[in-house]
Symmetry: C2
Subunit: 129 residues, 2 copies
DNA sequence: CAGAATCCTCCGGGATACTG
DNA sequence: CAGTATCCCGGAGGATTCTG
């Protein structure tokens, strides 16, 4: 796969990129069912576990924990435990995590700009067959 | 999930978006293992089935067919059969499909800009535990 | 409140064989 | 060349139960 067309001006494809494609890595990172939802929920500011639980409708405790761990592991958010009773844990995006807002915005723009044509194409395609 | 923060200037969250989140739709569309790879391979211009097969290293015939069908169904590429012997089939991105280059570029930029910090965070995190 | 542990299901996707 | 048709497996992710 040739990434040259997509690279920032003045940057070239390094050998490392051929080994481990950064675009695929990123899609693996945010391509799952919940990661993007959690990131978007955290954009306005820090949130607690239960708040995220309510915000990400349909998520299970297991997957929320799993998703948060993954983001924490990659340094995209911080996890702060307040030693109170009952416990209080706050999640907050780091700079890299919040920087995801840019690409996600682009993706959303593409979506709203083309979703009508996509839906139309899909309906037409299914009408045949 | 509140998408307002990510919307184009002057656009607001419609009821339809709450029903069927366009961001999630898009991630479902491109979040699988091969779609983005195929799209990137097609950016320079039309390609034949076997060319894509060679370009998308590791893909199976089954999945290439499946991926191409999905993109065709949504009107993101066209499939042109030349009635020759042996058969020749060309795939080409449509305007909406090619427009994915923008968001993908943003995603790639984010990736190259932050992959070092992500990798470092991951290593540090795993060193603990 | 914020999880950890366990069990189970579904399906994305690979391997292989066959064909117009 | 460009597929279709089967079979099959691993892992993402849900449901449930238990705890500091």
């Amino acid at each position: 796969m040739d990434l040259a067309l997509l690279l920032p001006a003045g940057m070239s494809v390094t050998p490392a990129m051929k080994e481990r494609c950064p675009l695929r890595d990123t899609l693996d990172r945010i391509g799952d069912r919940w990661t993007v939802i959690v990131v978007v929920l955290l954009l306005p500011g820090p949130r607690r576990f239960t708040e995220l639980m309510r915000g990400a409708e349909g998520i299970s405790q297991r997957m929320l924990t799993h998703t948060l761990r993954g983001l924490e592991r990659d340094g995209l958010l911080t996890r702060t435990v307040h030693a109170t009773v009952p416990p209080k844990v706050e999640y907050d995006l780091t700079a890299p995590g919040r920087a995801l807002a840019g690409p996600l915005t682009e993706l959303l723009h593409w979506s709203v700009r083309h979703q009508e044509s996509v839906l139309a194409a899909r309906t037409a395609y299914d009408a045949d067959v």
